[in-house]
Amino acid sequence: MGRPYAITLDVGSSLANLTGSWRTERPVYVDRLPPCNNACPAGENIQQWLYHAESGDYETAWRTLTQDNPLPAVMGRVCYHPCEGACNRAQIDEAVGINSVERFLGDTAIRNGWTFAPPQAETGKRVLIVGAGPSGLSAAYHLRRMGHAIEIHEAGPFAGGMMRFGIPKYRLPRDVLDAEIKRITDLGVTLKLNSKVNRIIDSMKAGKFDAAFLAVGAHIGKRAYIPAGSAAKILDAVSLLRSMEGEDRPLLGRRVVVYGGGNTAIDAARTAKRLGATEAIIVYRRTRDRMPAHDFEVEEALQEGIMMKWLSTIKRMDEGVLTVEKMQLDEKGFPQPTGEFETLETDSLVLALGQDVDLSLLDGVLGLEIKDGVVQVDTNMMTGHAGIFAGGDMVPSERTVTVGVGHGKKAARHIDAWLRGEAYIAPERHELASIDKMNSWYYADAPKTVRPMLEVVRRQSTFEEVQGGLDETNALYEARRCLSCGNCFECDNCYGVCPDNAVIKLGPGKRFRFNYDYCKGCGVCAQECPCGAIKMIPEEI
């Protein structure tokens, strides 16, 4: 009735035809682990904070960042950014300047006076933290936010540990450090300065602490036996850098030799230069490519006129003269003496040969294991003595601020669980978002932003900060260079490219959903997803 000529059936919609039954594979949304997050020793969720930063929401970005690391302005200056070394963007053009955006967020937070949210409830538990370095401060921050009462006992006159007494001002201005420490103590963390813990067991008992986290660092400069005349001036790099924080500047003379090849050696030489040395020479027994110091630091030192003497060991020191033996690398890459000697005029010798830990506070603690001068901890950061945890430079690990902050966070989680009589179980790690799972076509070319550097003349004579920060425009640009590896950034590609209109867009922040009634499983969405957030899995038939 009422149908056109020769038409016998009513018009129907193809929606009645559920083409999902054709499928042999189904697409699923996944969150893969971005390589930056995977590489971060502090366990930052870098991809996520960049996601907020790139929309200009710096406060949310900062709050996301500080869920893991309370010291972004410090870290944005001194971290050796392994994240950038792992960044997938390096395979397209250059790595994202994660470190520079982190610093921008940290500085913005200080400028705007953003503070941490206080704990929601008090647990009534008390934790003693020994040492106010990066590890101790990080643990204090996390434990306080979990509601525990925290006391930090610091042996020195200021908080900061190696961030203050090891890292020169030209890399980390002290007002930045102070601001970030204050924000942690403002959470209600009690900080006791000039309060050296001599015996940890006694201190815990006296303060009725339920647990302790030890993070005293490694502050004793290693000495090497170098025969020396009575007038020879020899000091260690740690003491030199530490004395820079005092009233009196150390007197090094006009020609300074630094012995060692690590980052501390570089810091010592650059400090000597700034103190007025006309010649600052680093003597190292191997070659530049085998130096433990980071290459960019070596580069910056060379720019400032620091001289390097490779393949040399120091044999003895007399007044004003060093005797140096030339070395050569054997086939295994180890330096071997050649028997050839030369002399080097110098006023003082700075030893930068590594640091040891002062373990005296552990006397009388049962169950502890000490190996190679450091305290052994299990995977929970707990020492052999129940309730005493340790982290930072005093446990076996790479000695950087970032690792220290990471230890603090990790220890805090385990201490918190231990205090509740439970064990902390880390969430399962997602599959790594390697570049082969992504589609780089969709990322426009965008070279990395170069951070401004102080001119060399001022770097040779003052302690002004060497590396500048980004302003808002280029920080935003840099954040937007992030590829968002493995995590949906709502680019609408899957929603757009589906030939079957089988992707449902859920709205801002809510991502997407597949309509499996119609999805035929062609896999175009997974192939065209820029960031690798869609995976095809076989359909169970």
Partner: protein, 334 residues
């Protein structure tokens, strides 16, 4: 400044369908939750069909440009068959089908009828595959062009008669294996020196607007459809739509192949007005033709010792396009 340039600062949004960081108006039609989905779910196209995708892209853009006032006329072909098995339809727009070869003429009639009825806001759009356009419907198409009828004709070019079992059309590229050009004998696959270039023939008619596009560049495609709907008179849009079935390619490679066709130079993307070429889409990351040919089984016979020379001939065709349309220049990033 066109939209692509504006988006350039948003590194992740320049080439993607959408971009959460820019306003709704700056995003593509396909990024919108209120796109018309003129070609909706449940259609019977193969997995990964480039034509289904291209048709939705083009129709949704035309619907957006006209406020939903589009009548589509369809030639016979895959698009007609997979969307309208009697009595079902996947079209959420007025849609007509008459014969294989007369879509352009029927659309001319639709445009005339609307004019007579005074419905000037309603626009006619004709669409068909390469068979219905470059072979069977070619006479009607040329007539519509020369009369400058107010119709946008869209050809979805998948380079053969796919619906009937992959027979050669005049848009099938040289060397491609089809059911009628088997990969055997001294000249395996489609013969070099045959076929026709309909976009160029359309340009030669001197009509107001001619453009080519691909499903690999949504922003470009939508911009061209919207521009075409803003013009009256005869317009022609030729969209390259890979066919997983007929090309012997993986269903997930549809967009990738469309992209490689452009990036190797075999499918030049350009536009022309009144007989003059006015713009070309530059190659962004140039690749040799092998990269485009290798994932397609219709070209598998080229990857033998004897096939090397023929690959060279195909590369020469790509190079000729690159020179003719100035597809590569020092600027790089298109």
């Amino acid at each position: 400044m066109d939209a692509t340039q504006k988006l350039h600062f948003y590194q992740k949004g320049t080439f993607t369908v959408g971009n959460r960081l820019v306003s709704e108006e700056q995003r593509s039609v396909q990024a919108s939750t209120d796109r018309s989905n003129a070609l909706t779910c449940g259609h019977r196209a193969c997995q990964g069909c480039g034509e289904a995708l291209g048709a939705r892209y083009a129709m949704d853009a035309a619907m957006r440009a006209t406020g939903g006032n589009v009548i589509a006329v369809n030639a016979t072909g895959c698009l007609e068959v997979f969307t309208t098995p009697y009595p079902e339809t996947s079209w959420q727009t007025p849609w007509l089908h008459s014969l294989f070869g007369n879509a352009a003429a029927v659309a001319t009639g639709v445009a005339a009828a609307m004019r007579v009825k005074g419905r000037h806001e309603v626009r006619a759009l004709a669409q068909g595959g390469d068979g219905g356009t470059t072979d069977i419907g070619f006479g009607c198409l040329s007539g519509m062009f020369e009369r400058n009828d107010d119709v946008l004709y869209i050809c979805y070019d998948n380079e053969a008669y796919m619906n009937t079992g992959v027979q050669r059309s005049s848009a099938t590229p040289p060397a491609a294996r089809t059911a009628t050009t088997p990969a055997m004998g001294p000249q395996p696959g489609n013969v070099f020196g045959t076929g026709k270039n309909v976009p160029k023939i359309a340009v030669a008619h001197g009509i107001p607007y001619v453009a080519t596009a691909t499903v690999a560049d949504l922003h470009d495609l939508e911009r061209k459809v919207i521009k075409a709907m803003g013009i009256h008179g005869a317009r022609y849009l030729h969209i390259h739509v890979p066919c997983p079935l007929g090309w012997g390619a993986a269903s997930h490679d549809t967009i990738r192949l469309a992209r490689l066709a452009v990036e190797c130079g075999l499918f030049p993307v350009f536009e022309a007005e009144h007989g003059v070429i006015t713009g070309c889409r530059k190659i962004r990351r140039q690749v040799p033709v092998e990269e485009y040919l290798k994932p397609q089984r219709r070209f598998a016979h080229l990857f033998t010792e004897a096939g090397k020379e023929r690959i060279g001939h195909l590369q020469a065709l790509a190079d000729r396009n690159i020179a003719e349309y100035h597809l590569v220049d020092a600027e790089g990033d298109g």
